[in-house]
């Protein structure tokens, strides 16, 4: 699957031109069209006692976004890319879904959720709500360290964590489409503590061997497709081990399949993809599963 069109959702806080710039390597994976979306939250212009709807504020916010987008668009046009832009007063997720319907992007880029813990508990995170409502892969962009430096080569060394789900098959096809921009991909599987039924060393090694073999087969498949892939088996808590592996191999991003199964339960207990998307320091590419579960 090629990435021809990218939807870049920005509030100009976390995602700015430097972030966009680091995505331009995707031109090597067929990127030819970038669509900007700025959603002005309704409460910024909503009716207020004594002042009514803040129309002037809306115009000001839209024009500010427009000036920013014109500047970015000029840079992208000069690279031969096609560019479009939307600036709307709306709710974030419904507006993203509306633009997805109009533009059919191959990738959505969004910053991490800014909702507070309590708000996320009741309303869910923006990112996971989006995962549940679209089939389009979502890159949760992050500045990897506190000083806001953008990872220059975002696709140079991704880490793909697989749990052998059906969604992961879709992720693998997507990864193959990125072969021109990925330098080396690390593929890992985490064996949960609970899956190690015996404390016998031989049995533990047997589990490792089975998983390693599956990983080797997957790496062969990716190498046949033109990628340089390396397998890793980890044991323990998946979220912690994925984070650990990403650090050990200096991953440029984490790639995860994400199913919408048990969305309500997930909201209360957290899922691996949700927690990594919201909390990890690494950018995270989420590949949603089919919406028929």
């Amino acid at each position: 699957m090629e990435i021809r069109k990218l939807l870049f959702v920005t509030k100009f806080e976390e995602l700015c031109y430097d972030a966009l710039n680091s995505l331009l390597a995707l031109r090597g994976a067929a990127l030819e069209h970038v669509v900007f979306l700025n959603v002005i939250e309704r409460d910024k212009v909503a009716m207020k006692r004594g002042s009514g709807y803040l129309k002037e504020e809306e115009v000001k916010l839209k024009e500010t976004a427009n000036i920013r987008f014109i500047d970015w668009a000029e840079n992208l046009f000069e690279l031969g890319l096609e560019v479009g832009a939307y600036m709307e007063v709306s709710l974030l997720i419904p507006e993203i879904l509306r633009v997805i319907e109009k533009e059919s992007p191959d990738l959505i880029v969004i910053g991490r959720s800014h909702k507070g813990a309590l708000e996320q508990l009741y309303a869910g995170s923006d990112v996971m709500e989006l995962v549940r409502r679209t089939d389009v892969p979502i890159l949760v962009f992050k500045h990897m360290i506190d000083d806001n430096i953008v990872p220059e080569k975002l696709f140079e060394r991704p880490l793909f964590a697989t749990n052998w789900s059906k969604t992961d098959q879709k992720a693998i096809e997507y990864i193959k489409g990125l072969k021109e921009v990925i330098g080396e991909i690390h593929i890992m599987h985490v064996v949960k503590d609970s899956a190690l039924k015996s404390s016998d060393t031989h049995e533990v090694q047997k589990v490792r061997k089975v998983e390693r073999k599956k990983l080797d087969t997957l790496c062969d498949e990716l190498e046949d497709a033109g990628l340089n892939a390396r397998p890793h088996v980890y044991v323990g808590d998946p979220q912690k081990e994925i984070e650990k592996a990403a650090k050990e191999y200096q991953a440029s991003m984490i790639i995860l399949g994400s199913s919408e199964k048990a969305a309500i339960i997930e909201r209360w207990t957290g899922s691996i993809s949700k927690n990594i998307a919201d909390k990890s320091i690494f950018p995270c590419l989420l590949i949603p599963g089919k919406k028929d579960i």
Binding site: E74, E78, G80
Partner: protein, 130 residues
Amino acid sequence: MSKKVLVVDDDPDVRSFVVTVLEENQYIPLVAQDGVEGLEMIEKEQPDLVILDVLMPRGSGIRLYRKLRTDENLKHIPIIMFTGIALRSFLKSQKVLDEFKGGEVPEPDIYLEKPVEPEELAAAVKKKLG
């Protein structure tokens, strides 16, 4: 007989401004809000002039401009580019696309950078249509 002028712009305020200028100067305004709708209107209505924005959703003015300048059935239609994108960037983009896609697309006859006064827009339209 009055001439038909198609305005392709995603901003309703800009469309409204251009439509007013056109009506005041006895032209028949037509409107489209993005590049895809613009092309459909051009093929259906065969306007005498197109006033074209660049940065728009669903197919930018860059793509539509190239289509209009390379399609044998449409290349006779004059275009006024009317946009916030600087001419320098527009020309660079065309040069890069010429290299990527082959062929050489001519520069636009009239390129107006927003905002403009109504008189300036009306004069540009008159220059192309009389």
